[in-house]
């Protein structure tokens, strides 16, 4: 097992480097100039002075060749004028960049460290994503089991239609409908925006989280339950299940004890990849419900062409996806020894 883990971890390094390189390269292809956005304050009403632009670009190395900008971001050596003496810097700030654990400061709020802000944003997004996944599994697993056990019945067909409709609903639209239905214009059950403030009770936090969590999770009902259904149908047709039935075990035990464990395997590995996707992909839900999370941070960074924010969020998304896949592979290897010996 250990050689397998090490092999996977070794692959992790070039993958991560590739992610940072691709993110950086793609960012360069996006039109718009961080210096112009920063100096104009995002308004055509503010004149932008050419000398100021030059100073700004020099301060952020935006006037340097792309390879130098990339290596400066990657680290561990700081390549700016205050950077490492090996690269002509003054030595005041020799090390920096991703490899030295430095995600830089935001361009628009230079006193804010990107890593600190990422922490604050993740503190919003991660609990929501976990809750959404939990809700997704709580709904999808029983649905999938019932659909598998009653495959081909009216229940199976109706549930497929409903779930597919859910799957197709655009999040922004569903979010607005949820607000209309459960906010003051409808039932008035839940707050429609934001998080509960500091000092809020657990109940208040819960009521604020209900609509975003539902909005984040309903899309996963379909694919999780279909996975569950497919896995369960396959398992139910396997020899050992037939044996269990032949032994005269009640169907409840056959499904709940013998078949379920094996049928859950695909869902276990799905969890590892679905979680990072929820972290990075929550931008629409975070916008509709006004949640200052990770997805919105990435989006705001892109709008403002804050390169360091975009690179940090894409890199983090990449790391989480890699980790998710790694965990998924490891789980598969643990559960199926044939994989680790392949």
């Amino acid at each position: 097992m250990l050689p397998y883990v090490l092999r996977r971890l070794a692959l992790f390094v070039p993958t991560l480097l590739g992610i940072t390189f691709l993110s950086f390269a793609l960012l360069q292809l996006v039109p718009g100039d961080p210096a112009e956005v920063a100096l104009s304050g995002g308004s055509t009403e503010t004149a932008v002075d050419a000398e100021a632009l030059a100073r700004f670009r020099a301060a952020y190395l935006l006037d340097q060749p792309l390879w130098k900008q990339y290596l400066h971001y990657l680290g561990p050596f700081d390549l700016s004028a205050e950077g490492h003496p090996w690269f002509g810097g003054s030595g005041a700030h020799s090390f920096g960049g991703l490899l030295s654990g430095d995600l830089k400061h935001e361009i628009h709020r230079p006193h804010v460290r990107v890593i600190d802000e990422l922490g604050r944003r993740l503190a919003v997004t991660v609990p929501l994503a976990l809750a959404a996944l939990l809700l997704g599994y709580l709904v999808a697993v029983p649905l999938g089991i019932f659909a598998a056990v009653r495959a081909g019945t009216a229940f199976d067909r109706v549930s497929v239609v409903i779930l597919l409709v859910c799957y197709c609903l655009p999040t922004f639209w569903a979010g607005l409908l949820l607000q209309l239905a459960f906010g003051a214009t409808g039932l008035g059950w839940f707050p429609v925006i934001g998080l509960a403030g500091e000092g809020a009770s657990f109940a208040e936090r819960l009521t604020h989280a209900v609509l975003p969590v539902v909005c984040l999770s309903y899309g996963s009902f379909a694919y999780l339950s279909r996975q569950m259904r497919a896995g369960m149908i396959e398992t139910l047709s396997s020899d050992y299940v037939r044996t269990a039935r032949a032994k005269g075990l009640p169907e409840r035990l056959v499904v709940g004890k013998h078949a379920l464990r094996n049928a859950l395997l695909p869902l276990t590995t799905l969890f590892a990849s679905a979680f990072p996707a929820l972290i990075g992909g929550a931008v629409i839900v975070e916008t509709i419900f006004d949640l200052p999370g990770m997805g919105r941070y990435a989006y705001e960074g892109l709008q403002q062409r804050d390169y360091f924010v975009v690179l940090a969020t894409t890199t983090l998304g990449g790391v989480m996806t890699c980790l998710g896949i790694l965990i998924s592979d490891l789980l598969s290897a643990v559960l199926d020894p044939r994989i680790r010996h392949a």
Binding site: G32, A50, H108, L176, L180, A181, G188, D290
Partner: protein, 641 residues
Amino acid sequence: MKLTLALAVLVLGGGIGWGSVRQAPQVPAASAAPAEDKETLGPGPAPLDAWHPAHATPVQPAYGGTLRVHTEALPPNLCLPLLNNTNARNMLYELHETLVQRDWESWQFNPDLAASWEVEDTLVTKDGVAHHGRVEEEEGQYVLAGTALAKDEVLRLERGTVFTFHLRPDVRWHDGHPFDAEDVLFSWRIAQNPEVRCDWVRQYYGRVERAEVVDAHTVRFFFKEQYFNALGFFVDHLTILPRHLYDLRDPDHPRHRANASNEECAKEINENAHNTEWVGLGPYKLSSYSQQGVEAERFAEYFDPAHGGYLDKIVWRHIANDEAAFQALVNGELDFTLRISSDRYFGEAMATPTFTQRFCKGYYYLGAFNYTPWNLRRPLFADLNVRKALAQAFDAESFRDTVAHGLAKLPTGPQCYFGPSYEHGVQHLPFDLARAGELLAEAGWYDRDGDGLLDKDGAPFEFEMLIQSGNTAGDISARMYQESLAKIGVRLKVTALDNASYFKRINERDFDAGNQSWSVDATENDPMQLWGSASAASGGSNHAGVIDPKVDALIARGARELDDDKRHALWRELHRYLYENVQPYLYRDAPPRKFALSQALRGVQFFKITPGYALRRWYYPAGTSGTRATREPLEPLEQKK
């Protein structure tokens, strides 16, 4: 019943929402007559609670309560010299003060941090020496401080160039530190350090040649030359910073270093945590800044308690999505939003009892207008007839009556429609496609090859208009314009760009036509930034590229003219000349700001001066839960700590 309603929304609303999402923006049908236009030209008293259904019933103000105001974008920082940000400016109206202030209604300058001020002149003699003081003009000579100088000894006289401010001695920063003249001087001096990222204010700060501290509570500014809006500089541009928190060389700074370099001092300003954790001088003191918004509570030691606000707390709630903001308002999570579209304003949601029983809606005009700049550097737009034809091909009245539901002015010039410098004698060119075709033919554009497009020198008449994605009104106007132009053989390509890409192309002059807004103050505005030839270079605000000696001359004369009436006449002359002889813009409309406001709030007035309202004047009526009859001093800072 409500459950049924909610389910109906979920089920039936789908069809409506889905349709609206998938369709291209539609031009609505002309609405019924717009609501009564309550606006008048020029300064004057603003009616109290004009939009409140019970405005005729006076109420007694109470102290206390919280006001939750919507802000669609959270400013990256609140330090205005570092960032020209409208939302930050709106917050600083309550969190900060200026040396003088402009009265909301009379538009006259009033004392604020400065209890009083004197204005003097500069007289430069031929030996190059500048003398300052009040200069009287007598026959053939100037008299300065009792000394007569023959006019032929004088090189130039600059009126109103020396301002001496006598500061109030009782003012404290929000952290309790006393405010004094050194703060003011430091705040102006930051622009002299090239490493400080305050480039947008340098052009304004640069009008001041030097400044000096006379004593702890007296500070003097010397302008380079006479300028009509010199006093306005202290209202609109000079943001006073707490020196003890921003200046490393200040002995009171927590990390004081007398020999700190310019770079270190600049870094201290650029990256100062107080850029967001603002320490100001206003009646409200910042208590938190987060992605959720900005919160402020009434400052117990505000120097002018009588005008220190009624509310205990103001929250600027950050909600990026306008639809979510409206839902939050209806849900009781907001009290005031200005992000109301015309469709929303005249739509069903604001006519339901859920809304009308608890909120009121209304609108007021500021100086903002929407326009399309032509890039005059491009040969296609070089001919005045072509630009006039393009103006006559846009049906501005139809746009106003349909998209804006009648709520917009159709401006023809860059000064505020309601201000004294706007030339109302200039009429919007009428929508007339036939005339537009004639003008284009006069300019040599007609369909030679029969392909339906006008052409000249082998090239068809086609151009690109950039719009900012997400700007629905801009998108609709561009599509309407596209259809009109197609009828006269002109092909318009509309390109939607995100803001950063849009700014880049506009700033680099890589465009044919744009679609943008400009904000002007109701009082009057220096046309230099928009029309001066010096601003035509890359990065300047003269995006159209107007380079015209007459325009420059009028701007220069107006800038030096201290007589209000004469100067307003110059601005009006400039307005007429630009519209009739230059036509650098296609003026679209000047819409009002539309708002929704909780009926629980009273004391609400709307003004023509930005931002158009003063939260410190708003209050809850006596008897409202959580309020009290007296101000009751809040806990002093030291005790609170």
